[in-house]
């Protein structure tokens, strides 16, 4: 016999996880950007030949005018905070303890802002328009986190 009334069911749960390895090749453009950070502590963007804008992070195609970006421009290392947030609650995607400050930072000479973190300062003292510069990791591996964070300049 089985109970025909599904209102009496206490549902079961199956706990699992999808763990699939990925190998995201950075491609030639992002690789050149990350190598310059790793090897020289320099920041570079790409310029669109059509609209003349300098994009950081660099990429091959211009999101504004669809031009192919071929020339490189050195930018920064200083920059300006365009906007930011202080993550106060620990969210699963955040690898470290909170508070963490995420920000969009426009490097000097760039027309777009790059996403990164701000550190070395009381989160309550961060503001838009604030001048910042990168703090590089001691051991650099060719990864966006070779910039540990941006700190007040």
């Amino acid at each position: 016999m089985i109970d025909q009334d599904l209102n009496n069911v206490e549902p079961l749960v199956y706990e699992s996880k999808i763990g699939v390895p990925y190998y995201w090749w950075a491609g030639d453009t992002a690789t050149r950007f990350l190598e310059a950070i790793r090897d020289k502590g320099e920041l570079w963007g790409t310029r669109c030949p059509e609209c003349g804008k300098v994009f950081v992070p660099p990429r091959k195609s211009c999101p504004r005018c669809f031009g192919q970006q071929t020339s490189w421009e050195k930018v920064g290392p200083g920059g300006t905070v365009v906007t930011y947030t202080v993550a106060r609650k620990k969210r699963e995607a955040i690898p470290e303890d909170v508070p963490v400050v995420f920000a969009l930072i426009r490097l000097d000479g760039a027309d777009t802002a790059m996403l990164h973190k701000i550190g070395g300062v009381d989160p309550d003292k961060v503001s838009t328009g604030m001048r910042v510069k990168p703090r590089f990791a001691e051991e650099r591996k060719g990864h966006i986190r070779d910039i540990e964070c941006f700190i007040p300049d």
């Binding site: 549902p11 699992s16 365009v82 906007t83 947030t85 955040i94 996403l115 838009t128």
Partner: protein, 379 residues
Amino acid sequence: MEKVAIVGVGMTKIEANKVSERFEDMVFEATRKALDDCGMDIKDVGNVITASNDFWDGRTISCMAVGDAQGVREKNASCTEGDGTFGAFYGMTRILSGAYPSTLVTGHSKGSESVSSLITNAVFDPIYERSLGVDMVTGCAMQARAYMEATGATAEDFARVSVKNHKNAMNNPLAQLPMDISVQDVLDSEMIADPLHKLDCSPVSDGACALILADEATAKKLAKKPVWLKGVSFCSDAYFLGDRDLAKSPSLEKAAQKAYAMAGISDPGKDIDVAQVYDAFSYQELMWLEGLGLADYGKAKDHLAAGDFDVSGALPVNTAGGLLSGHPVIAAGLYLMAEAVRQLRGEADNQVEGARTAVVQGVNGVAGQSHCVWVLSSE
């Protein structure tokens, strides 16, 4: 353009954790309700569209797993990955192709089954951004700050959106978070990511919604008065947040202008009776209303404070409680369209007197990268 109508709508209750229904069970319930709503038999449905996302479902090609619950056997079935408003667009174009008299469009998600922060972190570029730990909430919090600084909007202004929408939800039996709260309650709720408090953020939700679209000849034979698709457009912006001015939404402005032009609307503030907009976060309702041309830039907060967006106001917004009161992602835009349909039929829980034209807006991507705008009409 040939006339296409929404003829049937069906929704599950939105809940924090639907333990008794799997995603296909929710879709079955919504589909059955939509068929019953218009008196249609599943065998008469011309084709089927699913709006779903494999990451949320935890299953690859998950649209193939809900087909049984949509009655797709021996039918043409296809899918879109983003918000349901975009799925409805696809459904409409299939009717306009002339190949199908009707389309069933369903959208579903069960936020409760995984971890929203990790799934929305995976929206970001894996080489340049993802390992920093940003997600939908922290990404949108940066937009909220940019909008505040550009317009002078305050945390109190944002809180008023939350107060209004949770209050509207009190008359909606399908809402997850009907609440009678104050501005102070929002400001006192936990700070998640400056300037967004917990009650500025939509909840994690489970739910499914179904719409049935039909051509004119089919629509006129069915049980309910058709709600006509008068205008629609969608428009995208750049992917990287730092490429955009986050305080503005030019892609929404463009989409709205095109949708209004198609619908023959020259003065949206005057011609639109009710609006359903994608309030995943409180501040977004203000931004999107301005992008839709329903308030001047930076002025939506003043209209809100004056009560213009209340159910009894000049332009009622998110009359069923919006997404702040329940946000099953992907299905969300279809819920907003379903509420617009109910308003235009005169059968809404918070009925706007004499509503004849509605605008609905859906979003794809982080911080409003892409927008879909619908103009619906009872005439």
